[in-house]
Amino acid sequence: MNLKALSDQELLNTYLSGNESAISVLIERHRKRVSEYIYMMVKNRDVADDIFQETFIKVIRVLSEGRYVETGKFLSWVLRIAHNQVIDYFRQNKQQNQVSESDAGYDILNSKKFSDATVEDHIVSNQIESDVRRLIDYLPDEQREVVMMRYYSGLSFKEIAEQTEVSINTALGRMRYALINLRKMIQEKQLILS
């Protein structure tokens, strides 16, 4: 079986069916983004590496215990676990010159422990998804266009630049402002993305 060709969910199912290699493929697939996320919070590569390991130990434990609820957002779930691991690290170390707990993303990230999800949480989550989809309509046209091309159509920035007849730098800039504006609207509406 070519594991690398499988989707995240297929890999999860394969792992839960007893194929241990499937989890390694998942970890490698998302290593860069999870590592960068942790590093952006702790600003220390060695600490980030340790937290990365702890994050996936926790991921495997939750999966093995059958506590993972499939919502189609595996990587977002892993990032929330990583986020909680970083918060735990800050609590344990209380180090100076690093992002404080109060600054550590409680605005748009769910500060509740991932394992506490209930049926009610998933109903709320569906409502939030609906709200976020609507917020995209409030973006300026040029930003909304890039968002739709990236998330709906899955285009690369090179393709987006070609289709909108702008430079790649301009497309990237529009994406950045779109995300910043979306975050602002999400914060104003006090939505928690989970």
């Binding site: 697939r29 983004r33 996320y37 977002s76 976020v132 920035f157 990237l172 950045r176 979306l182 975050r183």
Partner: protein, 46 residues
């Protein structure tokens, strides 16, 4: 709507991912989470 490849994120050109991280995310982990969330949100069947 056709289902978007939910794992395109990981299969994407590594140069493009680096460019995205340096030019769009610029060290802001909340934006990275938001991008990941949106990728997965719209990767689901409507």
């Amino acid at each position: 709507m056709e289902e978007f490849d939910n794992d395109a994120l990981a299969k994407a050109d590594p140069d493009e991912e680096d460019m995205f991280l340096s030019r769009v995310i610029q060290g802001d982990y909340e934006l990275l989470y938001l991008d990941t969330y949106l990728r997965e949100l719209f990767g689901k069947r409507a």
